[in-house]
Symmetry: C2
Subunit: 246 residues, 2 copies
């Protein structure tokens, strides 16, 4: 499994992904699930992947190949898509193409063992920062004020804290803290999600890759947040009134 | 879907179940998922159900029929099982029998559309309070010190708070508060789990039904816990250190 979250804030976009992949619980590897395309001063696009690793790697490879200058490549490039909407369309079509090629099946593809789901976040000059969730069928939805974040992979354990503490006006520092708590809840409950984590903070209207970090297994801040949150939760719990049995 | 939790505490057993059933999201009903058998002074046994409603109702009906005195009923009764272990065995066999009859399939039954999963909690004189999770195949596992609670149904959203705040020494009042928080996290995230909730608190060595409550949609304590928890979480969140970007 996998866990990735994209947050849309007033001041930009924050993406976090884990790196664990597994084929059975005795075959665990570390693979990057966050990929960035950039034309400095013009666009920065982040893609996060969940699902069949062969599928997502093929999608990334195709997007990479097609973004390299070559006279005969023909296919449109993610570095040339005129808007984030067109970039999402391109990525969605690439995903559908890969799943169709691997499974040999036309039509709905969410149930295919070759399935995958993607989060696309970024900004192209001339537009706002935008956040998309892309389905295996190649179609996609965009984050709006009512649904300002997307999760893919093992999404349930880490959702309650996002729902409760997300605020579009929050700082990047707070947003990273929130994401770490959401990942910590997931990692504590599910072996298929694991450190290290990849983080990309894109600041609106900079049109370049922002802060990129890899949060390693022994990251002091992550450990402090994880243990601090356990204490804070128990403290908050003890301050709520107890149920009355009488 | 459904959400039920059974907690094993030092002082007894606490069970909570929701009441929402749905066949599609436009066909929602309220059905009790908690059932109690009692012989006062001798045993109190609580059963909670998740899965196919026809299956779980048939299981309950069979257990009820067979617990009524009748010369020719033949099958063993949950009111006569000599121990909680034997009661779990009986319930497991009844569940397997129902799924096999409905699906016509022998062998593993977890994938059957007629599948169901049960939590059995209680105490029979001569033994300790015990808590079991019963699978569609009729086999079961028992809660031990390392895994002191069981969840069935939509279990993921409400697990992180249970993992963080459960303590076997907690009071019944605290335990109900904890369960309400776990249910609140689930209800906020998933439409297929809903109020009202059923609650049974069994105090160890009383051998009789304990406190039984139905927590209705407008329950003042539940609402206070739900909103108080949102504030407490945001407060706890704000007191944790922010991530440093520098």
């Amino acid at each position: 499994m996998t866990y990735c979250v994209g947050l849309k804030l007033d001041r930009g976009l924050v993406c976090m992904s884990d790196t664990r992949t597994n084929a059975g619980i005795d075959n665990i590897s570390v693979f990057r699930k966050m990929f960035i395309w950039e034309t400095e001063g013009e666009r920065s696009i982040t893609l996060m992947t969940a699902g069949n690793l062969a599928t997502t790697q093929a999608v990334i490879s195709l997007l990479n190949e097609r973004s390299k200058p070559a006279e005969d490549r023909g296919a449109p490039s993610i570095l040339e898509a005129p808007s984030m909407f067109q970039a999402a369309k391109l990525v969605g079509e690439t995903l559908r193409e890969v799943i169709r090629d691997q499974s040999g099946i036309e039509g709905p593809q969410a149930d295919s063992p070759f399935s995958a789901t993607l989060i696309l976040a970024g900004q192209v000059r001339g537009g706002e920062p935008r956040l998309f969730l892309i389905y295996p069928e190649g179609n996609f939805v965009e984050a709006a004020d009512d649904t300002p974040f997307f999760q893919i992979g093992e999404t349930k354990y880490g959702k309650p804290i996002l729902v409760r503490a997300y605020d579009p006006a929050m700082s990047f520092e707070e947003a990273v803290k929130l994401l770490m708590l959401s990942f910590d809840s997931t990692i504590k409950a599910n072996l298929s999600v694991g450190l290290p984590l990849d983080l990309h903070i894109y600041e609106a209207d900079t049109f370049r890759t922002g802060i990129l970090r890899r949060i390693e297994r022994d990251d002091a801040f992550f450990e402090a947040i994880s243990s601090g949150w356990g204490e804070a939760l128990r403290e908050a719990f003890s301050h709520l009134p107890d149920y009355s049995l009488t």
